[in-house]
């Protein structure tokens, strides 16, 4: 794992790295580096398989983090390539030419987070939602409760227990339940 990261360091600028397990490591790169890095990895390293493409919404930082999970199918190792893009007008280069299955991930991310991948087919085509006309629902600034109240009438009489208040009142400062309680 160390050697592959050293190889990457020699060719690309890596912002940070973190070796989580012997078979799993993460590296952070700038958004512009992602596609050259992935192309190089697919062509010259055993990490040829795109397992997953996921998004984390860092609302407070005003950024989205995209994580490309690459796997070496014979060595049973995985490398996560992370990058952060600004939240406003979020756009990212598409990798669908390297891995055709990326089209589906990019379509879903486009629908759920509103990140645009220019050139990727099926952008804007509904993936799970039908007739959605609000903020992309997985963004953290999308208020699900308000949306629920606006669209899905509840049955009156439902009582709601706020977990934070409930835990504080019942379990006290300790934070756990004792036999004497």
């Amino acid at each position: 794992m160390k050697t592959i990261i050293d190889d990457i360091r020699a060719r690309f600028s890596v912002e940070w790295e973190h070796e989580q397990r012997a078979d799993l490591a993460q590296i952070g790169v700038a958004p512009g580096t992602v596609v050259p890095l992935l192309t190089w990895m697919k062509l010259h390293t055993p990490f040829v398989q795109l397992n997953h493409l996921s998004v984390v919404d860092w609302l407070e930082d005003g950024e989205f983090q995209l994580t490309y999970l690459l796997t070496d199918p014979h060595g049973h190792r995985s490398l996560m390539v992370c990058t952060r893009i600004p939240r406003e007008e979020a756009t990212m280069e598409s990798v669908h030419e390297l891995w055709p299955q990326a089209v589906t991930y990019e379509q879903e991310i486009n629908e759920m987070f509103g990140i645009h991948f220019p050139g990727s087919p099926r952008q804007g085509v509904p993936f799970i939602l039908e007739g959605w006309d609000d903020l992309p629902p997985m963004r953290r600034d999308f208020d699900t409760v308000a949306y629920m109240h606006a669209h899905h009438p509840s049955r009156p009489g439902r009582e709601h227990v706020d977990p934070r208040v409930y835990v504080g009142k019942v379990f006290g400062e300790r934070g756990y339940l004792h036999d004497d309680d």
């Binding site: 799970i128 939602l129 039908e130 007739g131 959605w132 006309d133 609000d134 629902p137 999308f142 699900t144 409760v145 308000a146 949306y147 629920m148 109240h149 606006a150 669209h151 899905h152 009438p153 509840s154 049955r155 009156p156 009489g157 439902r158 009582e159 709601h160 227990v161 706020d162 208040v165 409930y166 009142k169 019942v170 309680d181």
Partner: protein, 215 residues
């Protein structure tokens, strides 16, 4: 040790301008629906028909949510719903009971409406799990409905999250009893109040591309 009373907080009021909550019972099917009066002979015939219907409930094999996992054991040796004459039918044309099993996404609601309207009358809906009653644990989700009875007439609710197969059998037996007595007439309520139901459905489903009634 005395039983502690749990602190219960009211739900926050819905934001301004949002759709007001429909009060319980306004327009919904609450389990009571009078069929139009028929001649005595027809009434007697209906009694016989109901007797047949109650003992041969065919269930639409369509699971909308996680509750469908509790339906599978019903066909196995342990619970065996076939002893009550119930069978799974894979096509709405031959089904009499539609089970909305658990949470219902707005996207599934479209398919459920379509399947329900294609079933031959009389037909019944069983709402399975608390999700169909008040949203259950998915009450604040953006894509699951909270009250099934706003969109379709529910004849029997089976509460729980999830109800065990025994509870399901109990619910089905209750449904059979009501069918035998001719009390479960949600399908008639649906036809009589079609405008109300359609308005509710169309309010929720923004890209309405179904026909007005799926024959």
């Amino acid at each position: 040790m005395e039983k502690r009373k749990l602190p219960v907080l009211p739900v926050a009021a819905p934001p301004e301008g949002s759709r007001p909550h429909a009060p319980l019972g306004e327009g919904c099917f609450l389990g009571e629906e009078e069929l139009p009066k028929a001649p005595a002979l027809k009434e007697a015939l209906a009694t016989i028909k109901n007797w047949f219907r109650a003992q041969s409930l065919w269930v639409m094999a369509y699971g909308t949510g996680c509750g469908a996992i509790e339906l599978r054991p019903l066909t196995t040796a342990r619970f065996d719903m076939e002893r009550f004459g119930m069978a799974m039918r894979p096509t709405p044309r031959q089904s009499n009971v539609l089970i909305v099993s658990g949470y219902l996404a707005t996207k599934s609601l479209k398919r459920v409406i379509r399947a329900y309207e294609q079933m031959p009358s009389p037909k019944w809906i069983v709402g399975l799990g608390s999700c169909t009653i008040n949203g259950g644990m998915y009450w604040d989700s953006y894509n699951t409905i909270n009250r099934l009875d706003l969109y379709l007439p529910v004849d029997v609710y089976i509460a729980g999250c999830m109800p065990r197969p025994e509870a399901l059998i109990e619910g089905f037996k209750y449904l059979m009893e009501r069918v035998k007595k001719g009390e479960a007439n949600g399908w008639h309520h649906y036809l009589e109040n079609l405008d109300w139901y359609k308005a509710n459905q169309k309010k929720l489903i923004t890209d309405w591309n179904l026909p007005d009634y799926n024959w």
